[in-house]
């Protein structure tokens, strides 16, 4: 038996036009918590998919438990004890929690018939492992993002796994849930299970992992013990550059008040929400899952109808019936879920950038002015340094961070007075995250009013000039971000 549980050696994989992995290696010891980090698009997910048999590598091999493979099928991987929690959860929205939980075990056991009672026991057992409480007969599609993720985690835990791979498991989790997850991970470690943990979040990496591996653009950069690592080194390895975080200081002078929200309410979601926002300010809104912050954002953007209160933009009351009303009033919205709400993935980057302002790029008879169109696209690609050889490429070819910039560009192109961002850096690497924060600060200083909805506390504390904390649909505190710390904010949220 070798020292390592898993050895991936010199793995290469190319997609049409991209070398996603270039002879990378990774090794994991039994019972170890290993962190795999790297910028968006550096090939982490691709390597995971190769290990789990979803993709086949072009070159290289994998050794698991001393056995050497050049090709693994998903069933083999599962049978050997490799479990993956994918970035997109890989759940079945149309099926019940029970089935989502039980399918993998049933398939791995080669069962051909369905036994409801057995499946129910299996599912209950899985939930009990992390004390997650949910009705087994609910359809997974009706769950919130976090609940979906919990289901995915439970599913992976059910196996007698030797290696559990978690591809950015914490992106949609709140702090409380992250804590619970870490406890589970430690418990698993005690049982001798190795964990491969993919994350962008520095504090998590330091908190949980023992060893780490960092990739950059498909190449292996470094592996080592986490104890020998610090913040600066970590970001340097990942990005190849160094940066200093700078807290936001509003610089825009004499900002008029652009957005006033008075006693806004949606029955069953939130009530009595009031605040004012001036040009040059960045307002942070934070709260736990289900605190109503997302509904608030949707209400501000006309995607949900409010049942009480009013919204005034530049002193004028606006009836928010549809997103178009909001856009015309000067509000932009960067949604929570890039993939299902933010981007037309198969369409070109250019189209994605201009679609919301497209009617401004037309002449008579709404004929597109292609010169202006190209100019506009070029401007935004440059302004937000979106990394692409050609803006005519499909948006799906971009990495997460660059995709988020495209969404940002789309809304900036509409020249909004107020920009609402819901989880602006979810699943975005530190390099891009830093850049996005810089962009938001710059925008505010140029006179835009920005609202950041996020539960990434360092993010809100560093970038906001004001802060609202929501709990159970109400605003419970309005601390000054400059003079509070994370623990105080947390105590308000819980």
């Amino acid at each position: 038996m070798s020292e390592y549980l898993l050895k991936a050696v010199d793995i290469s994989k190319a997609f049409v036009g991209v070398q996603a992995l270039d002879a990378v290696s990774l090794d994991i010891r039994p019972g170890e918590i290993h962190c795999l980090a790297g910028e968006n698009g550096c090939g982490k997910s691709t390597l995971i998919k190769i290990i789990s048999g979803v993709y086949q590598q072009d070159a290289g091999y994998i050794e698991f438990n001393g056995k050497r493979f050049t090709r693994i099928t998903p069933l083999e991987a599962i049978a050997m004890g490799i479990q993956v929690i994918y970035q997109d959860f890989s759940i079945f929205p149309n099926l019940t929690v029970m089935e989502n939980l039980a399918f993998n075990t049933e398939l791995a056991a080669g069962r051909r018939l369905v036994n409801k009672r057995r499946m129910r026991t299996v599912a209950e057992e899985a939930l009990s492992k992390i004390n997650f409480d949910i009705e087994l007969d609910r359809l997974v599609g009706s769950l919130s993002v976090a609940e979906k993720q919990m289901v995915a985690i439970c599913r992976a835990l059910m196996f007698d796994a030797k290696l559990i791979i978690m591809d950015e498991p914490t992106t949609a989790l709140t702090r409380k849930e992250v804590r619970a997850l870490f406890e589970i991970i430690l418990k698993l470690k005690e049982q001798g299970i190795a964990i491969l943990f993919v994350s962008h979040k520095l504090n998590e990496v330091f908190e949980i992992s023992e060893r780490f591996t960092i990739f950059r653009s498909g190449k292996h950069i470094v592996s080592g013990n986490t104890s020998e690592l610090d913040d600066r080194k970590f970001s340097y390895y990942m990005t190849g550059r160094e940066f200093d975080a700078e807290p936001f200081r509003p610089r825009y002078e004499g900002g008029e008040c652009v957005l006033e929200v008075e006693n806004l309410a949606i029955e069953g979601a939130f009530e009595d929400v009031s605040f004012r926002l001036c040009r040059g300010e960045i307002l942070g809104i934070t709260g736990l899952l289900d605190s109503g912050r997302s509904e608030l954002a949707l209400a501000l953007f006309g995607l949900r109808r409010s049942t009480g209160g009013r919204i005034l933009v530049k002193g004028k009351e606006i009836a928010m019936g549809s997103p178009r009303d909001a856009i015309e009033a000067g509000i932009g919205y960067v949604p929570e879920d890039r993939l299902s709400e933010g981007l037309f993935l198969p369409r070109s980057i250019a189209d994605n950038i201009v679609i919301s302002e497209i009617d401004r790029l037309t002449g008579a008879l709404s004929v597109l002015d292609f010169r202006r169109y190209r100019q506009e696209v070029e401007d935004w690609v440059r302004a937000l340094s979106i990394a692409t050889p050609d803006p005519e490429n499909a948006c799906s070819t971009l990495s997460g961070g660059n995709q988020q910039r495209v969404v940002l560009a789309k809304w900036l192109a509409c020249k909004p007075d107020v920009l609402v961002l819901n989880g602006p850096t979810v699943g975005v690497d530190i390099g891009s995250k830093h850049d996005i924060h810089r962009i938001l600060q710059r925008l505010a200083n140029e006179g835009m009013a920005v609202i950041i909805i996020s539960d990434d506390l360092p993010e809100v504390l560093q970038n906001c000039s004001h802060l609202l904390i929501m709990k159970d649909g109400r605003i419970v505190a309005r601390p000054d971000p400059g003079s509070t710390d994370e623990n105080t904010v947390l105590s308000h949220m819980l």
Partner: protein, 342 residues
């Protein structure tokens, strides 16, 4: 209790069942003939062929595609079966025709399945193509004609009855055709496949998210392939039942049924994007269409008004259910949230 009710009213099946009931009452009111034993048997016997077709169409929709080739497939298989047995002078029982039809159906289904499963092409495109192909094969290469005489085995099977329902008042009798057992059998087997086997759950899983299904360890290609083979087989059964019941083989009179059958399936609450729907809803929707098409005279709608009436019923029926289901879902969500907030 209240929760169960809320769940009920957020389902399409509920509204279709209401429309169905209303229609039955209307027929009863207008003709006094709906709730008579022989009429109910008539409707059931008219349901046999569309019903079996609907099961196949339903399964393909669940897996996330559309099959429009089943009438052509059924015509081709039942033509070949009948023709071959006639030429061979088959005097035996009905088992051989069914066997041949099943094998042929499986073959043609495999043809579809090859393209849909292994080449990963969209089912609707493939079946549009294969439908034309089967039709052309039957009418061109095989030079199909109406066969007015069918083998004795098929003949006696088609006319045999499970029981005869009699309306004491009018003295009219209706046979419950033995072929109804085929529908019942197909429903039973399909229900078992869909709900009690991993193959069937795999069809739902693929309809919900094919990528996840692959990762979970479902063999997506094989599942799709086998699904199409199975659908080919039951479509062939439907075709053969039709031939037996009509006592003659007409190569083209099943063609063109596909859209109405699919409409029935969707009407019964099957999601057109796949992954959601029940066999019960599928039968309810198909039953509604069959009921409407076979009750125009009983309701007393003049023949010229028939199409307009059926069209209006489809639009209004689906409209009501789509509208109500959306409303119920929205209300349901709000209440769930309310529960969470309190």
């Amino acid at each position: 209790m209240k929760k169960k009710f809320r769940k009920l009213i957020s389902r399409t099946e509920f509204y279709i069942a209401l429309v169905f009931l209303a229609l039955c009452l209307l027929i009863q009111l207008r003709s006094g003939q709906f709730f008579t034993p022989n009429n109910i048997v008539d409707i059931l016997s008219a349901l046999v062929v569309p019903g079996i077709f609907a099961v196949g169409a339903f399964m393909v929709i669940i897996s996330g595609g559309f099959d429009v080739s089943f009438p052509a497939l059924a015509s081709l298989t039942s033509f070949v079966t009948t023709k071959v047995l006639l030429d061979a002078g088959w005097q035996g029982g009905v088992w051989l025709p069914f066997l041949i039809a099943l094998v042929l159906g499986a073959l043609l289904g495999a043809f579809n399945g090859l393209f849909i499963g292994y080449f990963e092409l969209p089912a609707m495109i493939v079946t549009l193509g294969s439908s034309s192909f089967f039709k052309g094969l039957m009418q061109g290469a095989l030079n199909s004609k109406q066969l007015a005489v069918i083998p004795v085995g098929m003949r006696s099977f088609g006319t045999s009855a499970l029981f005869v329902a009699k309306n004491v008042e009018s003295g009219l009798t209706s046979r419950m055709p033995t072929t109804f057992l085929v529908l019942a059998g197909v429903l039973l087997v399909t229900w078992f496949l869909l709900n009690r086997t991993m193959f069937g759950r795999g069809i739902y899983a693929i309809g919900g998210n094919p990528v996840s299904a692959h990762r979970a360890g479902f063999n997506v290609r094989r599942t799709r392939f086998l699904l199409l083979v199975y659908v080919g087989m039951i479509s062939a059964l439907a075709g053969l039942c039709r031939v037996c019941m009509m006592q003659q083989m007409h190569p083209t009179n099943m063609l063109g049924m596909e859209m109405n059958v699919i409409a029935g399936v969707v009407l019964g609450g099957t999601a057109i994007i796949g992954g959601a729907g029940t066999l019960f809803g599928c039968m309810l929707g198909t039953g509604l269409i069959v009921l409407v098409e076979n009750s125009m005279i009983l309701i007393g709608i003049p023949t010229v008004w028939k199409d307009a009436f059926v069209g209006a019923l489809i639009v209004i029926g689906t409209g009501i259910s789509a509208f109500q289901v959306n409303r119920a879902r929205r209300a349901g969500l709000r209440n769930v949230r309310k529960g969470a907030a309190l």
